[in-house]
C-alpha cells in the first residue's frame, strides 16, 4: 500500500462506531480504509495491558447497549465476541449493611422488603414504568432522527412514525412518557420508593457520564440507557465482553478485514481535505495522504470540525453551533490490579452480587453533593462509583487467583480548579493520586483494606481520556445527553442526520443520534445514510420493530 492511495471511503477513528460504519460499507462492496491515531484500535472500547499479566477495559467496561442487530449483521460472535451476563450488584453502607440487587425476582423482593416493605410494590410499578419507556424508545435507536423543519418525504414519514408511535400510547401514557423524559431521576424515584438507600442505588445510573445531578431534569431519561440494552435477548441485562471491551472492537475489526477492509494505525488526522465544497480525502499527521469521495469521522463533532477542518470550509453558523455543543467531561476511571479478591465484610459468604456493580453512595443528597463539588471544578469529596471485579466471571483478565477491578467515578472535572484557576493542565500526578485517595477512602466502606491488595492502579481523569482517546474534554458520550443536544438537535440542528456541510463528509460517532454508550447505533445509522447517498441503499439491512 502506498502513501497516497485512493479508497471508496475513509473512516477517521477506529472506535466502535467508526468500525461499525466501516463494516457495513465494506459488506456493501466499498473499498474502505480506517485510520487510527493510536497504535491500537478501539477508541473507548479497548482492552489494555498496562500491568504485566493483567488486562484492563480501561475506558468502557461493561456491555449491554451494543445493538443485537449489529452483532448479528456483522457476525461478531463468529469473530470472537462473547458477552457473559453478570447478575446483580449492591450498595454498601457506612454501617456495615448493604442493599443488593438481584435479577431473581423473589430474591430482589426479599431484599427490598428488608429495606422497606412498601418498596416491594414500588419496585413493581417502577420497573413496569421503565420497561414501558424502553419499549417506546428502542425502535428509535436504529432510525435516523427526523428533521422537523424539513418537508422532504423521508423526514415527514419519520415524523409521522414518531407521531404514530406517540399516538399508539394514548393520551395518559403519552403524558407519562413526556414526564419521564423531562424529569429528574431523583424526583422519579421519590415518586415510587421510600428507602433512600434503594433510591441511591438506582439513581447512579441516571448520572453516569453526565454533567448533571440526580435532581437535574432529564436524568430519568439517562437511566433508560441503563435498562434499554440487552444481552442475548434479556432486556436490561449487562455483561462482560470476554477479554475485555477490546474484544468488541477486535471482533468488529476482524469482521471488517474479512470483508476486505484496511486498517492503518499510528497516525491521527491532521486535516480533512476538501475541494469545491466536497471532501476529497485526509492528510495524516505523519504526512500520508489518502483520497476518497466519502469520508466519515468517528471523532466528536468539535474535534472533527474545530481541530481538523479548515474554518473556511464551513458555514459560520455551523462553526458557532459546533463551538456551542457541550462536551463537559465529568468522569474519572481507575483500573486496578489486585493480588487477591478483596474482603467485603458486609456481604454473606458466596454472595453472587459481588460479581455485579458495586457502589458506596447511600443517599440522593450525597449524590447531589457530589455533583455540586464538580460544578466548582473539584472532584466529588464523596464520589459515586460503579465498581466491578470482572475476573470473577472472566478470569482471562488477570493471572490465576488474582483479580482486576474497574472503577468508574462520578464526578471528576476536566478543568480542575487549583488555587482559583480552572484548567485541565492542573491534572498532574499529585492531583491524580489525591483523587484516587478520595475514591479508595470511600471504597473502604465496602472493602476495608483494599489498598493493601493493590499491585497497580491506572488513574484517569477526563484530561487523560481526552489525550488518549480523543474525546473532547473527556466527555464519554462525545457530547452531553441533554434535550438541546439530542435527536434532531444532535450534534447541531440541521445537521442531525450524519451529513455535514461538506459534501461526502459524515459524522458517525456518539456525537450523533442516538448518542453515547457502546451502542453502535450511530455507526450503523450513518452507514445507512452513506449507502443511500452512494446509491447502495438496498445493501443495508432493514430493521422492523
Amino acid at each position: 500500500m502506498g502513501q497516497h492511495d485512493t479508497f471508496d471511503a475513509i473512516i477517521a477513528g477506529s472506535g466502535h462506531n467508526g468500525l461499525t460504519t466501516a463494516c457495513y460499507l465494506a459488506r456493501a462492496g466499498l473499498r474502505v480504509l480506517v485510520v487510527e491515531k493510536n497504535d491500537w484500535i478501539g477508541g473507548a472500547a479497548v482492552s489494555r495491558s498496562l500491568h504485566d499479566g493483567w488486562t484492563y477495559s480501561n475506558c468502557s467496561y461493561v456491555c449491554s447497549l451494543l445493538r443485537r442487530e449489529i452483532i448479528r449483521d456483522l457476525e461478531l460472535p463468529r469473530f470472537g465476541l462473547q458477552v457473559i451476563p453478570y447478575e446483580g450488584g449492591a450498595t454498601f453502607t457506612r454501617e456495615g449493611d448493604y442493599f443488593a440487587y438481584y435479577s431473581d425476582h423473589d430474591a430482589l423482593n426479599r431484599e427490598l422488603a428488608r429495606q422497606n416493605p412498601r418498596d416491594v410494590d414500588a419496585y413493581e410499578r417502577f420497573s413496569q414504568a421503565v420497561m414501558r419507556q424502553c419499549r417506546f424508545i428502542r425502535p428509535f435507536l436504529l432510525r435516523t432522527a427526523p428533521d422537523p423543519t424539513s418537508l422532504k418525504p423521508r423526514d415527514l414519514s419519520e415524523l409521522l412514525y414518531l407521531v404514530k408511535k406517540a399516538n399508539d400510547l394514548g393520551a395518559r401514557e403519552l403524558g407519562e412518557t413526556q414526564r419521564f423524559w423531562t424529569m429528574s431521576i431523583a424526583d422519579f424515584l421519590d415518586e415510587h420508593f421510600e428507602s433512600d438507600l434503594v433510591k441511591a442505588h438506582i439513581a447512579g445510573g441516571g448520572i453516569i457520564g453526565t454533567g448533571l445531578g440526580v435532581y437535574s431534569p432529564g436524568t430519568a431519561y439517562v437511566l433508560l440507557h441503563h435498562y434499554m440494552g440487552d444481552v442475548d435477548g434479556t432486556i436490561g441485562a449487562w455483561g462482560f465482553a470476554r477479554g475485555g471491551m477490546g474484544s468488541i472492537t477486535q471482533a468488529l475489526a476482524a469482521s471488517f478485514e474479512s470483508s476486505g477492509g484496511t486498517i492503518v494505525t499510528g497516525s491521527g488526522i491532521d486535516q480533512f481535505l476538501t475541494k469545491g465544497g466536497k471532501v476529497t480525502g485526509v492528510a495524516l499527521e505523519n504526512g500520508d495522504v489518502y483520497h476518497a469521495s466519502v469520508v466519515a469521522s468517528n471523532m466528536d463533532v468539535r474535534r472533527t470540525f474545530i481541530n481538523h477542518t479548515a474554518e473556511s470550509d464551513l458555514p459560520s453558523e455551523f462553526v458557532t453551533a459546533v463551538k456551542r455543543f457541550k462536551t463537559r467531561g465529568s468522569s474519572g476511571k481507575i483500573n486496578v490490579s489486585l493480588d487477591r479478591f478483596p474482603t467485603f465484610p458486609a456481604a454473606p459468604d458466596g454472595a453472587r452480587f459481588l460479581s455485579g456493580d458495586m457502589h458506596c453512595s447511600t443517599s440522593l443528597q450525597e449524590l447531589e453533593k457530589a455533583y455540586d463539588d464538580w460544578k466548582v471544578g473539584r472532584w466529588s469529596q464523596e464520589p459515586y462509583f460503579d465498581m466491578l471485579i470482572p475476573t470473577q466471571i472472566d478470569p482471562t483478565m488477570a493471572p490465576p487467583g488474582k483479580h482486576m477491578m474497574t472503577v468508574f467515578v462520578q464526578y471528576a472535572p476536566y478543568d480542575l480548579e487549583v488555587d482559583g484557576v480552572r484548567s485541565p493542565d492542573n491534572w498532574n500526578e499529585t492531583q491524580r493520586q489525591a483523587f484516587a485517595t478520595c475514591v479508595f477512602d470511600k471504597m473502604e466502606q465496602a472493602c476495608p483494606g483494599i489498598r493493601d491488595h493493590i499491585l497497580h492502579a491506572e488513574v484517569r481523569s477526563p484530561y487523560e481520556l481526552e489525550q488518549e482517546v480523543g474525546l473532547t474534554e473527556g466527555n464519554i458520550f462525545q457530547g452531553e445527553l441533554t434535550f438541546d443536544q439530542l435527536l434532531f438537535n444532535r450534534p447541531v440542528p440541521g445537521y442531525a442526520q450524519y451529513r455535514t456541510p461538506i459534501g461526502g463528509m459524515y459524522l458517525v460517532g456518539s456525537s450523533t443520534h442516538p448518542g453515547g454508550g457502546v451502542m453502535g447505533a450511530p455507526g450503523a445509522n450513518a452507514a445507512r445514510e452513506i449507502l443511500r447517498d452512494v446509491g447502495k441503499g438496498q445493501a443495508m439491512p432493514v430493521y422492523t420493530d
Partner: protein, 516 residues
C-alpha cells in the same frame, strides 16, 4: 353565623387573584358567584396581610410582570401602575441597566454585549409570544380521533402554533427546538459571557423555582415570564391597590365576596359536587366549585374517597417546595446603593451579579440550608419621595421551606443577618437605617396563603409538571376528578406569577362543560 344555606351557580375557594379572576369571568357571563376567602384580606400572595401584620404596601408579591393582557382587558381591571426599568447590580459598581432589549452601563454607554443581548432578547420574546398562545387554552387532551370536534379543535390550536413556528423560518425554528428545553445558564453565557447581565436573566428565569440556572428546562421558565411582553409594572400605592382592582372588578360584575369564611369541606354526592360547608357550619349550595388552593388541599376538602387511588397518590407527590422568601424593611431614610444614580433607585434592583452566583445561591436549598450569598429582587417603593416613610421590599432566593428543625427564631435571625450583610455590601449604611424588619419564609407563606410548600407557583413549573400534565397527568384540564369541581389557581395551567390565566381558563372550561 347561623346554620343558613345559600345558593349560587358557582363557589370559588380562595380570594387570591386567580380566584377573583375565575369569579369575575363567570359573573360577567351572568352567573351568580360567591368567593370564599378564609383570611380577613383578599389577594393570596398579593395580599398585604391582615390587621395583625405590620403594614407594608407590598408585603408579599411586589411587582406585576406577567399579567395576562387579555385577562386584564376582559376583567376591566382598573390598574394604576408605573413601568419600571431594571438595574442588575455589580459588586464593583459597574451596574447594568436593562430596559427591554437594551443594556446600558451607568454612564450611559452600551454594555459590551449590548448587540448580542438585543438579538437574544428579540428572539426569546418571539419564542415566548408564540408559546403564550398556549396560555389561554385548556391544554390539549388529544384523547379522541381526528374527527372528534374537541380533538379537532385542539389540533387546530396546535397547528396554529406549528404554523407560527414554521413562519419563523427554518433557522429560527431550529433554534426554538434546540433552546426550548435547554438551561438558561448555557444559553446566556454562550452569547453574553457571565456577569450582571447574564445573572439578571438567569435570576428572572428561576425566581420562585426549586431550580438553579444550570438545570435543563429553565429557559422554558424564562419564556413563560416573557410570555406577556415582560412589562415590569409596580402598582401605584403598592400591591394593595392591585388587589383592590381585582376586588373592584369582581364586585362590579356582581360577585359576592366573603372574607373570614374558611371552607371545611366540599360537598360531594353521587360523584357530583353540590356545594361547600364552611368552618362555622354554613352550607352554600353551588352547581360548580372552583378551587384555587391546589390539588392536594382540594382533594382533602372533598374527601379522598371520591378520587381514584392513582390520582390521590400523584397529588401527594406533586413537587411544591417553595424557595422564595420576602424581606420587608422599614427604614429611617432611603438607602444609597453605591454607584447607582438617584433616579435609578426607583428601578427594580437585582442582586444577581452572575449566573454562577445564582447557581451558588441555589445549591444549599437542596440540603435544607440557606446560602450566604442569596439573590435579591429589590424595590424601593418610595424612593421618588424621600420625605415619606422609606421601605425596602426584597424577594429573596433561595430559602428552604422545610429546613431540618424548622424555621426557628435563631435560624430566622441568621438568615436575616446574611441578607443584611449582602445588602450592606451594595448599600453601605443600610443596616443603621433599619427601623423595623419582617422576614417571610416559604413556611410563613404557606401558613398565610395555603399554597403548598409556600411555592410561588403552587407547584413546581418543571417541564414535567406543565401543560397537559399540570398539576398531574390525568388531571390537567382544570376538572378535578369529581364533576363540577375545578382547579382554578396557579397549580393549574399555565402556572403562577400574577397572571390570571388559570382563573380565566378554568372558568371558561367549567362553562364549556355545562357545569353551571
Amino acid at each position: 353565623m347561623s346554620n343558613t344555606t345559600q345558593n349560587f351557580d358557582a363557589v370559588i375557594i380562595g380570594g387570591g387573584h386567580n380566584g377573583l379572576t375565575a369569579a369575575t369571568t363567570l359573573a360577567r357571563k351572568g352567573h351568580s358567584v360567591c368567593v370564599l376567602e378564609r383570611s380577613s384580606v383578599l389577594g393570596g400572595m398579593m395580599s398585604v396581610g391582615g390587621a395583625e401584620a405590620p403594614s407594608f404596601t407590598s408585603r408579599l408579591a411586589h411587582l406585576l410582570y406577567n399579567l395576562n393582557p387579555k385577562v386584564e382587558r376582559e376583567l376591566g381591571l382598573r390598574l394604576n401602575a408605573r413601568n419600571l426599568t431594571t438595574v442588575s447590580l455589580a459588586p464593583n459598581g459597574e451596574h447594568v441597566e436593562i430596559d427591554g432589549g437594551k443594556a446600558r452601563m451607568m454612564d450611559g454607554a452600551l454594555h459590551p454585549k449590548a448587540v448580542a443581548f438585543a438579538t437574544l432578547q428579540t428572539r426569546l420574546q418571539r419564542f415566548a409570544t408564540l408559546l403564550s398562545r398556549l396560555s389561554l387554552r385548556t391544554p390539549p387532551k388529544l384523547s379522541g380521533s381526528w374527527t372528534d370536534p374537541e380533538t379537532f379543535g385542539e389540533l387546530m390550536g396546535l397547528a396554529g402554533i406549528g404554523l407560527g413556528l414554521k413562519g419563523m423560518g427554518k433557522v429560527e425554528m431550529r433554534e426554538f427546538l434546540r433552546a426550548l428545553l435547554t438551561n438558561v445558564h448555557d444559553l446566556m453565557v454562550d452569547d453574553l459571557d457571565d456577569g450582571p447581565l447574564a445573572g439578571a436573566m438567569a435570576a428572572d428565569a428561576v425566581r420562585g423555582s426549586f431550580s438553579g440556572p444550570k438545570a435543563p428546562g429553565t429557559l422554558f421558565s424564562l419564556l413563560y415570564r416573557l410570555g406577556n411582553g415582560a412589562n415590569l409594572r409596580a402598582p401605584v400605592g403598592g400591591m394593595a391597590s392591585a388587589v383592590a382592582a381585582f376586588e373592584d372588578a369582581a364586585a362590579r360584575a356582581g360577585c359576592v365576596i366573603k372574607r373570614q369564611s374558611a371552607v371545611r369541606s366540599v360537598l360531594v354526592q353521587g360523584d357530583r359536587v353540590h356545594g361547600v360547608e364552611l368552618d362555622d357550619g354554613t352550607v352554600i349550595h353551588a352547581k360548580a366549585v372552583l378551587s384555587s388552593i391546589g390539588p392536594q388541599a382540594t382533594i382533602n376538602l372533598a374527601g379522598i374517597q371520591h378520587f381514584d387511588v392513582e390520582i390521590a397518590r400523584r397529588a401527594k407527590n406533586l413537587r411544591a417546595k417553595g424557595t422564595a422568601g420576602k424581606l420587608n424593611l422599614l427604614l429611617k431614610a432611603r438607602p444609597e446603593f453605591s454607584g447607582l444614580p438617584a433616579p435609578l433607585h426607583q428601578a427594580r434592583l437585582l442582586i444577581a451579579p452572575s449566573s454562577d452566583y445564582v447557581e451558588h445561591a441555589f445549591n444549599p436549598v437542596k440540603y435544607g440550608s440557606f446560602s450566604e450569598a442569596p439573590t435579591l429582587e429589590i424595590l424601593l417603593p418610595n424612593a421618588h419621595t424621600p420625605e415619606t416613610p422609606q421601605t425596602l421590599s426584597a424577594v429573596v432566593g433561595y430559602m428552604p421551606h422545610d429546613p431540618p428543625g424548622g424555621w426557628t427564631d435563631a435560624l430566622r435571625t441568621k438568615a436575616e443577618q446574611q441578607i443584611m450583610a449582602v445588602l450592606e455590601a451594595y448599600a453601605p449604611g443600610i443596616g443603621d437605617r433599619v427601623q423595623h424588619s419582617e422576614l417571610l419564609t416559604p413556611t410563613d407563606i404557606q401558613t398565610e396563603t395555603g399554597a403548598a410548600g409556600g411555592h410561588w407557583h403552587h407547584g413546581e413549573m418543571g417541564i414535567d409538571q406543565i401543560l397537559n400534565v399540570r398539576p398531574i397527568n390525568g388531571m390537567a384540564h382544570y376538572q378535578c376528578g369529581v364533576e363540577g369541581l375545578y382547579l382554578c389557581g396557579a397549580s393549574a395551567h399555565p402556572g403562577g406569577d400574577i397572571n390570571g390565566a388559570p382563573g380565566r381558563n378554568s372558568a371558561l372550561q367549567a362553562l364549556k362543560d355545562g357545569a353551571l
